[in-house]
Amino acid sequence: MKKYRVVGQDVEKVDGRALVTGQPVFTDDFSLPGMLYGKILRSPYAHALIKEINASEAEKLKGVEAVFTYKNVPRKAYTTAGQGYPEPSPYDSFIFDKKVRFVGDRVAAVFAESLSIAEEALSLIKVEYEELPAILDPEDALKDGAPVIHDEPEIQGAHDPSRNIVSHVDLEIGDVDQALRDSDFVVEGIWETQYAQHCPMEAHIAIAYLDERGKLVIRSSTQVPFHARRILSFLLGIPISKIRVIKPRIGGGFGAKQEVLIEDLVALATLKTKRPARLELTREEEFVSSRTMHPMKVKVRLGADKEGMLKAIEMDILSNTGAYGAHGPTVFFNAGSKTLPLYNKAENVRFTGNVVYTNLPVAGAYRGYGATEGYFALECAIDELARKMGIDPLILRQKNHIRPGETSPIFKKLGEGREGVPQTVESCGLEECIENGRELFEWEKKRSLPREVAPGIYRGYGMAIMMQGSAIPLVDMASATIKMNEDGSFLLLVGATDLGTGSDTILAQIACEEIGIPVKNITVYSSDTDFTPFDKGAYASSTTYLSGEAVRKAARKVKEQILTVAHILLGASGDLVIEDGLVKEVGTGKTLTLEEIGLRSFYMADQRQIQATASHVSEVSPPPFAAHFVEVEVDTRTGKITPILYVAAVDCGVAVNPQLTRGQIIGSIVNGLGFALSEGLVFNTRGMPLNPNFLDYKVLSSLDIPEIEVILVETHEPSGPFGAKSVAEICINGPLPAVANAVYDALGIQLKKAPFTAESVLRLLGKI
């Protein structure tokens, strides 16, 4: 493989020093004179009509500058989902509506001189509700006579709102029923995931103000500044040219910020009062009223022949999108499109199901984007099949997984809420992932050990394999601009959105590798809709792969411009290279500094700005692959599951920055272990969340996290920048099935409902 100078290096994060020295880099580090503080009044009911709302007392309160309810804002159906245009999510939301659809839904908003005045004003708003019957279980949504959650006439893009169905799929390749009848072994089960929240350290926050031109500027913790601008323009009826969205540093997003959740309100307040306005969600609002993972019930049936070759896979899903359908169809499609191609040896595949509305919090994009729910079911079913056949589940996986040069009809059949794009898998290191993981983990040796290690204490060993995608093919576009200064330094301008993920650093590395300069010679400016070129934003595992390729293309063009000048200056006819910021003529050893080139271009001859812009759209979405292995200890007296060792072997193509890559892998495994062991919102019988806080919603602490060994299996993806694919999401898919499989291995109990609490373990053991 080609040796790179900057790519493949653990380059220090370009924003690292500013972050650790506490520079004012976040949205909230920014305060403007005369800024108003906003607060949202939220529904106490799961489903109700607002019979009357009277805000006059609130408006009279001293210090209150604006109060918004459905009565004084535009009524336009839209989606909060920050996706490409036209969005595949239904238009079923309003800034405010006469109807509330979950506990925590928007009722009104107040902007005032201080937060405490805004809070007091909320209590002065009089609302009379007429409570409606609510749907708190997704199974009930489909029943005859179920309440209709979206009966508004304006709704668009939902499959059948009168039956609470947001999206429906009935897809079959081959003949699944026949193949199952012909199979020697058949397994089936239903696996269920919970309401989990992203828990970014920084809650959603936005500040709006008018600049000296009268332009509306919004500084927001968003993953999608350009989509936010487009959606706001549509919603508020102001031209895109009058809106500028800036994304500063962000304290994590994980999908929760691939939404426009508060920007509309600060915009309204600023447009009305001409004053800066700020709105920040509280942690409780973040849990209840921002976005969550889609709770799903995933039914899987597998059929295999005597040799252990899969003949049929059936996946049927009931996905709960909550009160609004943001990302509902696409997350559901992904649960199939990112999982089923992994076992492409099965010729008969069926993918069916419904996404339904309920009167519960709104699910949205969450790292993994449906694949996590799909893999929990699929990879547990594979283990069950192996048990039924009496073979090692690792071997069953080896027999059936996709290989380089192969394809799956699913790639074409399932896309972004519609048909996808056919593709052949070019780079695939899954075989090595399984091999290297098994060796480091000592799979066979461990599985031959006695499971009871002390009285009542059992160890178990489980695994799972997985894939994801890299960007949304033929939908999403990214672009980049690179400019050279006269001292030979560079500016990289990207619309791409660094959420703390390190993408500014990765993109700098790609630019520098292509041009031939060290990272210290480039400054990255990102995510400002007025000053950086378009990028779809941070989602779908696409920044390194898609934005990275746009950066590489721009860098290539800039390099060509530099070399043109260099040829003239050196009077050279032979090949020129740029290394470490120096232009060299191959063979002669003649050199030239970039400063000499810059000064000439700016001031002397053939004067021009050396710069280039490039855009990129991908025709494929090359999957990264991974194999995960986990050792758990289960205390059968208390039911507690403790992960002991986790091994993740991952093929993400070329790792542009290995340290950041490991960070993504470890972070997503920890996140997935949280789903497996402790995370989950709990509701009472009226749809009210009981644990929307860090006291009772348990994210794993550092003491709960096992030793995690990461193995990078490098492959070279021809369509990616310097061979790179994605790594941001894939590894969140492993912990649920790997832990469940390990617990089965320890005790012979099947955990099919996440999280796997100590209570559920004792219940399955028949002890309580």
């Binding site: 007296r637 208390t638 039911g639 507690k640 402790s678 794993l700 602490s701 100590a758 209570e759």
Partner: protein, 287 residues
């Protein structure tokens, strides 16, 4: 949080006088109080910050009596040589509370007056049959810890009274103790169930003499498991005894279902925690 008057007395005397005049809410480490104030569950008119009263930050042993100032933090307790030798299970419980940051400011007095049945220092204090010193301008009284609590978050302390010290007789002879706690994760977790155990045993280490067991988070207040205590007293620890004690212990627990766990689970695991704790002694000290 709404505005409130803030007092910071320099002496205990001053504190007691402010309490009488102002009916101020006491703030020690603030790790319970501020959470409640931020959530709007408490909206005191005035708050008295006693965290500067050095005279209440001590742990000492005199003539077989261990006395702990109400402002001793959990960090002080977990490190104190006195506590580690005279009441190792109290040190263990202190070590299990919250995180280092919480333990550095949270006090034993706050843990007691907060009166949560899941307060982790309480079960060990029950087994030590600790006494609480309540002082006010009018005088002082001493209350047995078991008499202090009346329900979740409730106790007999009067608004003008301050808890100033906790004391207990240092148990004598060979000691066997443990504190077992089960939370939803390893740190920063409120106990679903906790069990504190204290026993003295004969010099020959053959028999348990006095046995004290207290259970946390399984009743409206911390409770003593008296049936189990008398079952174990004057017996030896073997597997059969431990199994029976665990069963008895589950029966004595009177838990509820809530957001953190279920009734049946808590009942079952109360016994299991006792068993886990006692099992370490089977082949250990006594066999």
């Amino acid at each position: 949080m709404r505005d409130f008057k803030y007092f910071r007395p320099r002496t205990l005397k001053e504190a007691l006088s402010i309490l009488t005049q102002e009916r101020a809410k006491v703030l020690a480490g603030g790790t319970d109080l501020l959470v409640k104030m931020k959530d709007g569950l408490l909206r005191p008119e005035s708050v008295m910050d006693i965290s500067f009263l050095e005279e209440l930050k001590f742990i000492r042993e005199e003539e077989g009596m261990v006395t702990i100032g109400a402002l001793a933090t959990h960090s002080m307790l977990e490190r104190s040589p006195i506590i580690n030798t005279k009441a190792p299970h109290l040190a263990e419980a202190s070590r299990s509370i919250g995180s280092p940051q919480i333990r550095n400011v949270a006090t034993i007095g706050g843990n007691i007056v907060n009166a949560s049945p899941a307060g982790d220092s309480l079960p060990p204090l029950y087994t030590l049959e600790a006494e609480l010193l309540l002082e006010s301008e009018k005088g002082s009284r001493i209350v047995a810890i078991e008499e202090f609590f009346t329900g979740p978050g409730q106790s007999i302390i009067e608004p003008h009274e301050l808890l100033t010290a906790i004391r207990f007789k240092a148990p004598r002879g060979e000691l066997l103790t443990f504190f077992q706690k089960l939370g939803q994760r390893k740190a920063l977790a409120i106990s679903k169930v906790s069990v504190a155990f204290l026993a003295t045993c004969a010099a020959d280490k053959k028999f348990l003499r006095k046995v004290r067991i207290a259970l946390g988070a399984v009743a409206p207040t911390v409770i003593r498991a008296r049936e189990v205590e008398s079952f174990l007293e004057n017996g030896s620890i073997n597997e059969e005894m431990v199994d029976l004690a665990a069963k008895l212990c589950s029966e004595e627990a009177r838990p509820i279902s809530d957001i953190r766990s279920t009734l049946v689970y808590r009942k079952k695991v109360t016994g299991e925690l006792l068993k886990r704790g006692l099992s370490q002694f089977i082949e250990g000290v006594i066999s």
